[in-house]
Subunit: 304 residues, 2 copies
């Protein structure tokens, strides 16, 4: 068991309120005073979740986007957020960060309501947190509701952000759609709101298609077969479409597409790509071009 | 203008929603779906907000307490919180931190609902954030509502935590009520709920009596005279009661008593000590033993 798993065990012993959903979903669901609130909080740490050379406006955008993506996966409407901000000591950097944050918040109609700013000790890596609050507009899908026979869908291709990160690592000046996918992910709020009333289970693909599909299956007490890994034309243009490329794309994190389970007879109400199927049993099976392939040692990004 | 003031100016340009209260209060007030929510988020950074040698259980307690204190100042009932936690790399340290956090949350009936854990780069100072959500049970006092003629009160003596910090700095093994005041502040939730329907303005004393009284007066467009600095017997026992000690106590942070403005004719519904009076005009006047004394260069703890 990893250090993170052990701390999660300790946290679960504290977070016993039903609203915490056993800390096994990406969000909490708090019903209070007539409101049904979706709560999520994600941190980003320099050198862990972003590259120190990433443009500050993109880091700000991404902090907003990853939190909004958790709301999207529950079909929630953004109603407010709070920022925890570590001053950089460089005011133009701070201003650019806040400009990017504001772009993402404004674009998705998410009001910034407050938070805290702190000075860090000299040379400390900086960290940021955002707590996002949404309001449920109907049923709130969990990870755990998939049923045997359901199809598994994703709202777009996977792997772009992973290749974008590699390109950005190789050169801070890298640009183009793959780097954009890594730096400026688009939370699928519209799709999430349209999907939430129909899906049996939904989550965002933040840690890789294979890992997140396995998590949905595990939470639902089912087996899942992933039989298609959708690649974008931009990714195929730089990496081709080999089995190795497909597996790499299915293990890459940071895509923030929505992953959902839908009855086989139902057509998704939004553009989505079928990528697999749930069945009784347990575990993940990967098929590429019809043939079962061995699973990679690591299914995705187990981040700290 | 300090770097923090400049970033606050940038943040105010983004946080234009009325729920943000212009970022001039300690909390946001969000009305959604029939609920009236009080939102606050405070970070603690190693070496800035606590001493690296502080016991981890006390750091966990304090993170909960400082956020609960912001709810107390608005008379709010705790309904849920989200934790941002930087893994220390030392599991017994993490376990002790969470035990202290849980003690404070349980004691104040605040459910932990979720959050995020991150790994920090090696040797990075750690930081923690908590976002606390409360529900308003009646009127929600702001900092800005004091009126000319109001008396200024505080719910307990000031300066204990400041001396406790000095003692803890001198020796990590220091103990006793002053160190306890620094390490285990008690948010005044019961007092806040009883006071909220009656006060004209209320806030917690996190940065020192003088600075916070000046802020309340400034937000209310008034002048304030502080004419009494209440010291605890424990503080007088180690520091005496000289003018210098009184001024130091009035500049010390981390007390988390409630500071409030009440009409002169009204008796406070909780135990409280009158410490001053509001009048038309602006600025802060300090009187000790009846005589006006010059203000210290720094009124309190302008933390980052």
């Amino acid at each position: 068991m990893s250090a993170e798993s052990r701390i999660l065990t300790l946290l679960r012993a504290i977070a016993t309120d039903p609203a915490a959903r056993g800390l096994s979903d990406d969000v909490a669901l708090l019903e209070t005073g007539g409101a049904r609130l979706i709560l999520t909080s994600d941190m980003m740490v320099e050198g862990v979740h972003y590259l120190p050379a990433d443009p500050p406006a993109d880091i700000g955008w991404k902090l907003a986007a990853v939190n909004l993506s958790d709301l999207a996966a529950k079909g929630a409407k953004p109603v407010g957020c709070l920022l925890g901000y570590a001053l950089s000591g460089d005011e133009s950097w701070d201003a650019a960060f806040l400009e990017g944050l504001n772009e993402a918040l404004s674009y998705h109609a998410m009001p910034l309501l407050g938070g805290d700013t702190v000075k860090m000790p000299p040379r400390a890596p900086r960290s940021y947190s955002l707590t996002a609050i949404g309001e449920a507009t109907g049923p709130v899908p969990a990870r755990s509701g998939a049923r045997a026979g359901d199809r598994l869908y994703v709202t777009g291709p996977v792997g772009d952000a992973g290749v974008g990160l590699e390109l950005a690592r190789a050169s801070p000046a890298a640009a183009g759609p793959l780097v954009e996918a890594y730096r400026r992910p688009r939370p699928r709020l519209t799709e999430g709101a349209l999907l939430a009333p129909h899906v049996h289970a939904m989550m965002d693909v933040s840690d890789g298609l294979l890992l997140d599909a396995a998590r949905m299956a595990g939470a639902s007490g089912l087996a899942v077969t992933v039989d298609h890994i959708p690649l974008s034309p931009a990714l195929e243009a730089v990496r081709g479409g080999s089995t190795a490329t497909q597996i790499a794309a299915a293990r890459a994190g940071d895509d923030y597409e929505l992953l959902f389970a839908l009855p086989a007879a139902m057509k998704p109400p939004v553009r989505a790509i079928p990528v697999g199927r749930f069945a009784a049993g347990e575990g993940l099976t990967l098929r590429i071009d019809g043939a079962v392939v061995p699973l990679p040692d690591s299914l995705g990004w187990e981040h700290g």
